[in-house]
């Protein structure tokens, strides 16, 4: 959002293996100053290992990590101006909220009054003032989450690392905290790097995101870029919902599958067409080029998703239509479809 283009953190050819298992494989990545960056991937993709290397809990087997141009990879965690918000929150159970927040500043050997001032300030911005003297056991999940965030923020790190920060919260609270985190990041002007397996979370919060799989970086970009122009079939499937149709591209540049033709710019040969549910238009039987039948309907409130069986693919195509829109489709109804050629991706 307010991200400048200067990289604050540069991950340069970083790799990490645990015995025979490669967790992170030659990742190169620039994180810009003040941006909200998401590391996204399925579990076991190496995103947490990468984050732990940034924090200093794992050392890379290869590559360098540059913070403002300085290699921080040899530094232990306590010497790095980055702070990590742990997935388990890792609040000190024997300390009050105030003591938890003061801990990191005491380690910097700041004056008592300065510590008090900064802790008070941070507790005010994170709505924790009234809980100052409570122990973590006396807090709710959402409150603990705020303490964990405040404890890291009070250190004024150059980069804040967040490991699945909303994972332990229920859906309603999670959605509220997504916006809250984003607001907070705007306010404090600190670079946030968040690790998540939840693509929706990444889409909502991140200025830019990186998708990892099996330790490799697949794509880096703004949420819209990744959603609309996924780099490969895995990313296309991982972010949002995607229909895949296997077929082939002819010499005439037409993608052809059973009962379906789409103009495509690809090389001749076998190919997979990927299209989002919202980029398929429907009409009465015979109106549009592809014919099909409704096999399932999922109602989502704002919209509904029709699962349409066609000859083009084994799995029914998902088509999103506004719930208020025309057409009272029922299971078993025949209809026709048209795929918007401008909004498809071709993977070969």
């Amino acid at each position: 959002m307010n991200a400048s283009s200067n990289p604050i953190l540069r991950i340069e050819g970083v790799g990490k293996a645990f015995g025979p298992v490669t967790a992170v494989d030659d990742v190169t990545l620039d994180i810009r100053e003040n941006e909200f960056f998401a590391l996204l991937g399925p579990s076991g993709c190496g995103k947490t290992t990468l984050l732990r290397m940034l924090a200093g809990f794992e050392s890379p087997n290869a590559g360098r990590i540059l913070l403002e141009g300085k290699d921080i990879s040899p530094l232990p965690p306590e010497k790095r101006p980055l702070n990590l918000m742990f997935q388990s929150y890792a609040l000190f159970p024997h300390m009050t909220v105030r003591q938890n927040l003061s801990y990191g500043l005491e380690m910097e050997r700041l004056a008592r009054t300065e510590i008090r001032r900064r802790v008070d300030e941070t507790m005010a911005t994170t709505d924790l003032t009234q809980f100052a003297d409570r122990k973590p056991e006396q807090l709710s999940g959402g409150q603990k989450q705020r303490v964990a965030l405040a404890r890291a923020l009070v250190k004024r790190p150059k980069v804040l690392l967040l490991d699945e920060p909303l994972g332990a919260l229920d859906k309603k609270l999670r959605e509220k905290m997504q916006l809250e985190l984003k607001r907070m990041q705007n306010e404090v002007g600190i670079t946030f790097i968040i690790v998540t397996h939840d693509q929706e979370e990444a889409l909502v919060m991140a200025d830019r995101m990186a998708i990892l799989k099996d330790g490799r970086l697949l794509q880096v970009g703004a949420p819209e870029d990744v959603y609309e122009r996924p780099a490969d079939r895995f990313v296309a499937n991982f972010i949002g919902v995607m229909n895949f149709i296997d077929g082939k591209v002819g010499v005439d540049g037409l993608f052809v599958a059973e009962g379906l033709q789409v103009k495509a710019s690809g090389n001749a040969g076998s190919a997979t067409l990927a299209v989002r549910p919202e980029n398929i238009a429907i009409g009465p039987p015979g109106d549009l080029p592809v014919s099909g039948a409704v096999v399932d309907i999922a109602y989502h409130g704002l919209d509904r998703v029709l699962h349409v069986k066609t000859t083009a693919s084994a799995t029914p195509l998902q088509v999103r239509i506004p719930a208020s829109g025309a057409g009272n489709w029922k299971i078993g109804d025949a209809l026709s479809l048209k795929i918007d050629p401008a909004r498809c991706r071709l993977f070969q």
């Binding site: 924090a55 200093g56 809990f57 232990p76 965690p77 306590e78 702070n83 990590l84 742990f86 997935q87 388990s88 929150y89 890792a90 609040l91 000190f92 159970p93 024997h94 801990y103 990191g104 380690m107 910097e108 122990k135 973590p136 056991e137 006396q138 999940g141 603990k144 404890r151 890291a152 250190k155 332990a168």
Partner: protein, 288 residues
């Protein structure tokens, strides 16, 4: 009483019955002896007196009490200092090898307490293994007299109770979320400050449990001081033993025993309170 309230009581019944029959009743019986006069050939004359308790407070016996407490405390501190690093190392070892390491830690328990203590006589004797080893290494002076010293008694106590302390400290260490130590490092504390401000305070219940265990078992111990102290270092345990079996003064022995039990009960209660307090904290953390 409702059904739900009755069932736990029923489940506890066999254990409670056992304790009452073989622990509480004999203890009370012995305790009651303390209020009577001694019989000429052992046993008691049923004449009420508080004389025995007055004798416990006698400086001569109070000194033995204090001496026992000092030896027990030294053994406790030594055991904690040895056990903590060991427990820490075990808790940081790979998950797979931790049970094996713990197995080795408790291995001495597989042999009899007396035999283990006798083994120290063989080790510490003037003609024992340690002196032989020193001689073979070229030491030519007088053989060291290590046996029948206070240090020998303390060594024996520490050796015998060390596994308990390792287990107690290990159990709190292994339940500690390792991310707490990482969080401390992340917030700018080096390894030493992390240990002093996070790891140690959170494992104090284990240290207390192990420590009280060693102290309570040491202060009343009579086998180790008898064997390794050679009877030259009287502890309360030996004193009680002597009153019953040598001096035939059962009432005084009972009074000494009562004082000893009281000390232990106070310590155990203090430790139970500390543990209850700390486990409340840990519950809060587990719920995160």
């Amino acid at each position: 009483m409702s059904f739900n309230a009755t069932r736990p009581t029923l489940l506890a019944a066999p254990g409670v019955a056992w304790l009452v029959a073989f622990m509480v009743v004999p203890c009370l019986l012995v305790l009651s002896y303390a209020f009577f006069e001694r019989g000429v050939w052992g046993g008691v004359e049923y004449t009420f007196t508080l004389e025995n308790f007055a004798r416990v407070a006698d400086p001569l016996y109070a000194k033995i009490f204090l001496n026992s407490a000092r030896i027990a405390l030294t053994a406790t501190v030594a055991a904690i200092l040895i056990a903590y690093p060991a427990a820490y190392a075990i808790s940081r070892a790979p998950r797979m090898s931790q049970p094996i390491l713990l197995f080795f830690a408790v291995l001495p328990f597989w042999s009899n307490y007396l035999i283990r203590t006798y083994a120290w006589i063989v080790l510490l004797n003037r003609e024992g293994l340690t002196n032989n080893l020193l001689r073979s290494l070229g030491y030519t002076g007088e053989p060291l007299s290590m046996l029948y010293t206070e240090s020998a008694v303390i060594t024996g106590l520490v050796y015998n109770y060390l596994p308990f302390v390792i287990l107690a400290i290990y159990s709190t260490l292994s339940r500690l979320n390792p991310e707490l130590m990482e969080a401390s490092r992340d917030l700018g504390a080096g390894p030493v400050r992390t240990f002093l401000r996070v790891t140690l305070p959170l494992t104090l219940p284990g240290v207390a449990a192990g420590g009280v265990f060693v102290f309570v078992l040491s202060i009343g111990n009579f086998v180790t001081p008898a064997l390794l102290g050679g009877g030259r270092f009287q502890m309360v345990g030996n004193l009680v033993y002597d009153q019953f079996l040598t001096a035939n003064d059962w009432p005084f022995g009972a009074a000494l025993g009562a004082a000893l039990i009281l000390t232990m009960i106070v310590l155990l209660l203090l430790q139970a309170r500390a543990t209850a307090h700390a486990s409340g904290e840990r519950k809060g953390e587990a719920a995160q």
